[in-house]
């Protein structure tokens, strides 16, 4: 019963106002999220905040256009892969710094392979780590929402079979 009540959230909305406005706004939300991620080392924001906005845009897409349309664009399998890829980028840059002779996440060591000055290398290292954080947060946000809204079942099809 609880599954049936919450599953309506993942159906396609029939409100023309909500559908049209979210259709027009979602690309701008996504570009704003990427802006927040890319300018995290100059202005307020960063990987987590940008990732949350990116995840929110995908959640809005699920609410208005239905789960099936979003899963066609990004399946749960690729979502899980993105989730681990983000963490892998973060840890990978940290361990790369250890290999190059620094501490964990000591971005100054990256100057040796990037062929730039140490401050610039730190800026680029932070950008790389924030990209990883952003990807991971976006994927985790979407996966939490999908798990809650579908009652933990992978897709609508299997849900129909279990009823």
């Amino acid at each position: 019963m609880t599954i049936k009540q919450t599953a309506d959230m993942t159906k396609q909305s029939d409100d023309v106002i909500v559908k049209t406005l979210s259709r027009l706004l979602i690309p701008f939300m996504q570009i704003y999220a990427l802006y927040v991620i890319a300018h995290g080392h100059y202005s307020p924001g960063g990987g987590f905040q940008g990732g949350v906005i990116l995840g929110a845009s995908l959640i809005l897409l699920v609410i208005t256009y239905g789960l099936d349309n979003v899963l066609r664009m990004m399946s749960e399998r690729s979502n899980t892969i993105l989730c681990s890829l983000g963490v892998a980028i973060y840890v990978g840059i940290g361990i790369l710094c250890i290999i190059l002779g620094g501490n964990f996440l000591d971005y100054g060591a990256l100057a040796k392979i990037l062929h730039v000055e140490v401050p610039h290398a730190r800026s680029l290292g932070i950008l790389g780590v924030e990209t990883g954080v952003g990807i991971a947060v976006m994927a985790v946000m979407l996966s939490i929402f999908l798990d809650i809204s579908t009652g933990g079942l992978p897709s609508n099809k299997e849900q129909g079979q279990s009823d």
Binding site: I17, I31, Y32, A38, M73
Partner: protein, 237 residues
């Protein structure tokens, strides 16, 4: 004796000629059929290539326009105009426009986009003036006697067709003080109006006519169209 042999030989040669002609005719028929078939197949292939090219061209146009709009938005947000940041911006815009160009341009416009944008910009001051007038009216309602209030929910069928024009009308109604769009279902609007005057203003359909004019919908001749045409007639005279 020799004559009969000659005649027989002549007959035989005639028969052989007829045979040869029939066979040649058959071969020609088959050849013509084959060429027409291959032509049809070729034509189909060429048509398929053309339609594919047309679809690809539409996709590329959508992608590029989404890219330009998003890059403009990015440059507006980002205060850093060096090579590094603009490169990141272009990469991000390419990614997002690849993912969601079909969201931004979901239904193809029949009208000219430049005309729609121009008419929409002309529409905004009129809408602001209407908001100003309704503000005065609602202020008088708030300060005046209670008997002026007559809240009710109205229902009317709209002649607008596309989703974007319906959304523009719904949001214009909500932006105007005193009226709120409660719901839009299959082109039927449910609007809450706070007094008789705002309800009557809405039911004249002036706002709807103007929005239909912006998005070039619903086969009606509007005052604005006639006004647009007037200079041409003057020039012709």
């Amino acid at each position: 004796m020799e004559v009969t042999v000659l005649v027989q030989a002549t007959y035989k040669s005639f028969e052989m000629l007829d045979d040869a002609r029939d066979r040649a005719k058959q071969i020609l028929d088959i050849a013509a059929k084959l060429t027409s078939e291959t032509q049809a197949i070729h034509r189909k292939r060429i048509e398929a290539i053309f339609t594919g090219a047309k679809q690809t061209k539409a996709k590329i146009v959508k992608f590029i326009s989404a890219f330009i709009i998003l890059l403009g938005f990015w440059l507006l947000l980002s205060g850093h105009y060096d090579v590094f940041h603009i490169t990141i911006g272009m990469l991000c815009c390419a990614l997002i426009s690849y993912l969601s160009y079909d969201l931004m341009f979901a239904n193809p416009r029949t009208g000219d986009m430049r005309v729609i944008v121009k008419r929409f910009i002309i529409y905004i001051p009129w809408l602001l003036y209407q908001i100003f007038l309704s503000n005065l009216h609602v202020a008088r309602l708030a300060l005046g006697p209670r008997s002026l209030l007559d809240p009710k929910i109205m229902k009317f069928k709209s002649k607008l067709e596309s989703d974007i024009s319906m959304v523009t009308l719904a949001n214009s109604i909500t932006l105007t003080p005193g009226t709120i769009t409660v719901d839009v279902k299959d082109g039927v609007y449910y609007v809450h109006a706070v007094s008789k005057k705002v309800a009557e203003d809405l039911m004249t359909g002036d706002m709807e006519d103007r929005i239909a004019h912006i998005f070039m919908e619903a086969d009606h001749v509007y005052v604005q169209d006639v006004l647009d045409m007037a200079p041409i007639f003057v020039a012709l005279k």
